[in-house]
């Protein structure tokens, strides 16, 4: 497998508005109360969900989406966003290593609010099988 190790690569920040109805639909899909505000793991959408497509769409990164398994996920919140809030997320490849014929990519995303203050950090470990 001749791929470029992409550790340290940073993607441009992406702005995203947390749509109230979409957050409620997400709550319903995980069996949470849609009236209880933005579900914490909606970070899968407003944080990881807006930056991961940049990684998957990066031809040089050559991450084969179909052979990718999500092995670990961590979300750390400074605070939880409110419905209709606009947030900004930036992704970076924290590490990219090959081991036993598999590739392990750690992808971090920092999400901030309109004032630039931290909301959430996402840390995903993706394993790409060969």
């Amino acid at each position: 497998m001749a791929e470029i190790a992409i550790a340290g690569r940073t993607y441009p920040p992406v702005t995203f508005q947390i749509d109230r109805e979409r957050a409620a639909a997400f709550a319903k899909a995980i069996g949470a109360d849609p009236a209880a505000g933005v579900p914490p793991t909606f970070a899968a959408v407003y944080s990881l969900g807006v930056t991961a497509p940049q990684l998957f769409g990066d031809e040089e990164a050559a991450v084969d989406f179909a052979r990718l398994l999500h092995a670990e996920q961590e979300f750390t919140w400074s605070r939880h966003p409110r419905p209709d809030e606009t947030v900004t997320s930036q992704g970076r490849v924290a590490s990219d290593v090959g081991r036993r014929g598999m590739r392990f990519v750690t992808f971090e995303t920092d999400t901030t609010d309109g004032a630039g203050l931290p909301l959430c950090r996402s840390k995903a470990l993706f394993v790409i099988r060969s």
Partner: protein, 116 residues
């Protein structure tokens, strides 16, 4: 101890795909999933984590008390599997999280929540 059992369905996995925007065909298309060596479609790890988070939130006294959530996706979940999600206090501000399928096999391991 706070606990919730969920039997996964195709409809639920499809609903999560739509709600999250994660349309990876390994979650939606059996034939495609088999071409990449899976038994058929599998549930999103983040769907498992979302369900786990609701149990952690109940144990913590509300979703917005969650400060950190970590899950290791240790086993595949397929439609028809029943997974029992458990959150148990493990020291101040800390919950130990577990998810086990109907055969007693762990699907989330080493998982924890930190709460206010």
């Amino acid at each position: 101890m706070t606990q919730r059992s969920v039997t996964f369905t195709r409809e639920q996995i499809a609903e999560y795909a739509e709600a999250s925007g994660d349309y990876n065909p390994i979650h939606l298309d059996d034939d495609f999933a088999r071409t990449v060596g899976l038994p058929g479609i599998i549930a999103h790890g983040l769907l498992q984590m979302g369900l786990m988070a609701t149990v952690a939130a109940d144990a913590a006294g509300g979703p917005h008390r969650l400060r950190r959530l970590y899950c290791r996706f240790a086993g595949m979940v397929v439609p028809g599997d029943t997974v029992t999600f458990t959150a148990e206090p493990a020291g101040p501000g800390r919950l130990e999280l577990r998810a086990v399928n109907q055969r007693g096999e762990p699907v989330l391991t080493k998982s924890i929540a930190e709460v206010d």
